[in-house]
Amino acid sequence: MSIGISRGRRPVGAGLAVALAPLRAVKGLVLTLCCLVVVVPLLAVVSTSLADPRQVNEAGGFVLWPRHPSLAAYRAVFAGGVVTHAILVSVAITLVGTVLSLASTALLAYGLSRPGSLGSRPILMVLLFSVLFSPGIIPMYLVVKQLGLLNSYWSLILPVLINGFNVIVMREFFLGLPQELLDAARIDGAGELSILFRVVLPLSKAILAVVGLFYAVAYWNSFFSALLYLADTVKWPLQLVLRTYVVNNAAIGVDASALAGAPAPPQQSLQMAILVISLVPILLLYPLLQRHFAKGILLGAVKG
């Protein structure tokens, strides 16, 4: 996090330190418990996905640490085809969606970043009101239907293409860039597009990363738009497959030829393997997210 927190607050005098020891212990205990509440379930998910059938049966379903870790559950899940297809769908939606969202957000934010430019005030109002209310499920469904996007992958991208809050954050960032640089480029005869691509965007990598990550996480995690717009279950992305097999507990069939004679992994291991697969991209992005997100969410709050 870029914002330092308890700067300048020093521990009190040495005499007091002894008196405060129990308090410190309680604090440490509480924080440790908080962390365990987050870490232990995730550890158990990963462990169960890796555990061998015997251990899963002995433990009554879930294990905290696998004795003989194996990737059998993952092999079985990938051999099935349903999950593999769903992963491809989710990855494609996330990639295409993020690129389109980021591009249109950056263009819109830059188009609105010249104070006093023609039309920028009414467009800003349009933007701000879109943050204040959401159109509602039914009218949104009708628009998607009228545009002929039902059952099309575009229905997962276009309705959520622009997030007004992200545009505002990015516009704030653009406004904070040294205007002299832009003016200098303008005097040199650069057009708006070349200023954007040669001056502004290279200086804005941090904010592009933040906003891009926010969009990517939103695309990867969304399940309701697919439930609403995609009647064809074959097209479903990973989150909905996860819902079917893990939340709703549908039986996962395993193709016997994929097992090569080994016993089928228990349902719990298969379920947890699907869960881990859907977690992996978030965990891979997390270090990046971490570095930037607080900056992103605070940008609007701290500035101005």
Partner: protein
């Protein structure tokens, strides 16, 4: 509006430096700014089509909408669809009640937790340790609701990890998942698990802006740790607390749509139906499009009024409103 004034402020300061005092003619401005308008177009179009065009779709609140007839061909029925709201249809009232109860539970139990956690984190002496703890606690915010619900099921379900452990060690175990009587508590605890860490960010930022000199003065006056907390820390972050609370109250009609939709099958509508799921189930699942649109329209209008009202009140408290929401 709060955002507007903030932007206005930034604009006037920049304009004073950049632009000549007299505003150029429309033609000159068009020639100067047309590229900017052009590049704003794709995003603007998406906003208009998917945020403003749907407003027109609300006409079906006054129609007997039949999907095969389409919006224009479906017959007008006046205010018939609103009858469910005004005559107190039991399913609708149940949804309203559940929404308000869950919202209140969240204000009472979800809202204070990040404040406490932020105070705790803020009082940690080691910066590095604090960063590690933060990394762990922010993580659940980025997990999808499907994952969170799945994790709760297999940790706390009847055959889940905790119950299995309790049974194996002679304990009684408990019945939480799929129990209609405890559904609201379950939903609340899931929100706490997912978003408490994330919720600390605004409070930590506010805490970092409390003037350290105040603590030194308080210490010199012999104030204990508790007294410092009460007289220095809390007043320092009071405005942020009030702001977050007001904005939460402005959102009182929307509670965890995806989260609740995922878990309805196990507990039934009586315990779990909230306004958003009522609108969805009644229209898409049961075919009552007109009534759902009517409920959605009323909910949307009250929602906008609440958000604007909350923002106004936040403004009176000297804060900048939606900007931080």
């Amino acid at each position: 509006m709060a955002v507007d004034t903030a932007i206005g402020k930034a604009e006037t300061t920049t304009r004073a430096v950049l632009a000549p005092p007299r505003r150029p003619s429309l033609r000159v401005r068009w020639r100067r700014d047309r590229t900017l308008l052009l590049i704003a177009l794709p995003g603007l179009a998406a906003l208009l089509v998917f945020h403003y065009l749907p407003l027109l779709g609300n006409v079906i609140a006054f129609k007997d909408y039949q999907p095969y007839l389409g919006i224009t061909e479906s017959p007008w029925v006046g205010l018939t669809n609103f009858r469910a709201i005004f005559t107190g249809d039991p399913a609708f009232l149940n949804a309203v009640l559940n929404t308000l109860v869950i919202s209140m539970l969240q204000v009472l139990f979800v809202f204070p937790v990040p404040i406490g956690l932020a105070l705790l984190l803020n009082s940690m002496a080691s910066e590095r340790l604090k960063r590690v703890v933060q990394s762990v606690l922010y993580l659940p915010h980025f997990l999808s609701w499907v994952i969170v619900v799945a994790i709760f099921q297999f940790m706390l379900g009847n055959t889940g990890l905790v119950n299995t452990f309790l049974h194996a060690h002679g304990g009684g175990g408990f019945d939480l998942i799929g129990n209609p009587g405890l559904f609201k508590e379950l939903v609340t605890s899931q929100v706490i698990w997912k978003d408490t860490g994330w919720g600390t960010i605004l409070f930590l930022a506010a805490l970092s802006r409390v003037d350290p000199a105040l603590y030194e003065v308080a210490q010199m006056d012999g104030a204990s740790r508790m007294r410092q907390l009460w007289h220095v820390t809390l007043p320092g972050i009071k405005s942020v607390i009030v702001l977050v609370l007001i904005l939460r109250l402005g959102d009182v009609l929307s509670v965890g749509f995806e989260q609740i939709l995922l878990q309805q099958n196990a507990v039934g509508p009586h315990a779990s139906e909230v306004l958003d799921t009522y609108i969805y189930n009644n229209a898409v699942v049961a075919g009552g499009w007109g009534v759902s649109a009517a409920v959605g329209l009323i909910k949307g209008l009250i929602g906008v009024a609440l958000v604007l009202g909350a923002n106004k009140i936040a403004h009176i408290f000297g804060e900048r409103g939606v900007y931080q929401g």
